[in-house]
Symmetry: C2
Amino acid sequence: MFCQAYGMEMQDRVYTMSQAFRLKQSIEDAVIAGEFQPGDRLDEASLAERFGVSRTPIREALLQLGAEGFIDVRPRRGAIVSVPSPTRLFEMFETMAEIASACGRLAARRLTPENDAAMEAAHRACEMAVREGDSEQYYADNRNFHEAIYRASRNSFLADQAFALHKRLSAYRRIQLRARNRLLQSLQEHAGILEAIRAGDEQLAAMRLHDHVLVQGERFSDMVLGLAGDRRSDAAGSRSGTAK
Amino acid sequence: MFCQAYGMEMQDRVYTMSQAFRLKQSIEDAVIAGEFQPGDRLDEASLAERFGVSRTPIREALLQLGAEGFIDVRPRRGAIVSVPSPTRLFEMFETMAEIASACGRLAARRLTPENDAAMEAAHRACEMAVREGDSEQYYADNRNFHEAIYRASRNSFLADQAFALHKRLSAYRRIQLRARNRLLQSLQEHAGILEAIRAGDEQLAAMRLHDHVLVQGERFSDMVLGLAGDRRSDAAGSRSGTAK
DNA sequence: CATAGATGAATTGTATGCAAGACTAGAAAT
DNA sequence: ATTTCTAGTCTTGCATACAATTCATCTATG
């Protein structure tokens, strides 16, 4: 049937996005922005009231965010913003380092002029932010720079995974950037990463990206793992004061 | 995701799992078992009737599976079992190779006697399956072997990610195993991987795992990427929304 | 005084109903 | 005969109602 080809063309049509999808984005953004802090309860009723919808689409959004690991949905006990234990956080960063370095390795192998230009532009933006000492701006530009590298792997699936994890870690990454005042150091590392990718040196690019993400945290991670025989990855609150 | 024993028991107390969670597992199992083939429609009404529940928990299960990337949920157009394009499939396998090799690298660095024993046991089971020529059994044991390696990374987050992707690719992996009749070859590669991990040779372990997963597919992947200048964004495309 | 048990309030899980968008088939027109 | 328009059916999306379970508070008891 020739009609099928014709029908395909109707796919340019823009379908209305469901409310649940919009809500998912909104809630995710609110979490990333820090409006909901780790440990905070995501109450279905209040979220429904806040967004002017019923509980149903809220529930659907929360469950999806839970499936992505963005929040923690406990059966019959409601959803909370995940509170990863220190060990869990190291594990997440270590995973981020591995995935990022994989992207860098592939990018070094497959670099195209377009991807190169995108990374260059993002790098320039980072430079500008550092020059102006704008930490918030650097945070945003840094995100774009890393996304450009993920894309440069020319593996959109891997890039999606990388970016998803990047978003999940954004709150802690921001702390990391601020706490150590390592804007300039970060920028220099970026330059080294770019250099390695452009040289087509897969190993070097992977290593530099790995170290860039972990920031000397690797050995510390190993140490923690060595000490802690058993690991708890519970989201159980460390909210109230120290257990006495 | 890390759904194993999610709602089973937390802090001694056993909570009743929600229907939606059970349904999620059931539907996922059905997809993995090949009962629903890629492209098949997952109709809410018929699934509800099949499991004897209303549409609500079915919907919630489908949305969660969609968020995990296991199926493809299109707004207002229902859910289907994902039909990755060949390019997409290569990307998924390549990502699996990268994540698996990362697990192997960490396993080589941190191997404990317990993890070693677990891998050994799984390897023995694989040997037995090959000796008896039981392809189905090997498929199951192979899965356990790889899971043992993921766990041996001593990074439970990374291991969860790896296992989730492994499950997602199970249908195609089974084809891969059968089509090439490479049971024996696979077993020998397993032995080589174990050897490298035990020797603490991170690079070798990573490389062997990488090659084991990709099975000479790497160059082919590069070739496909090289030929296809632009990649189709199929219906099974990324869920990155309007991110530019 | 502390702890265990029970009762009421609050919150989540599921079912049902209705509205709106998407698919199908048929008729009209070129 | 092919395409376009249209009407009807089917499916999904959301709201509401109710059931089930968890949490908090209070009381009784050692």
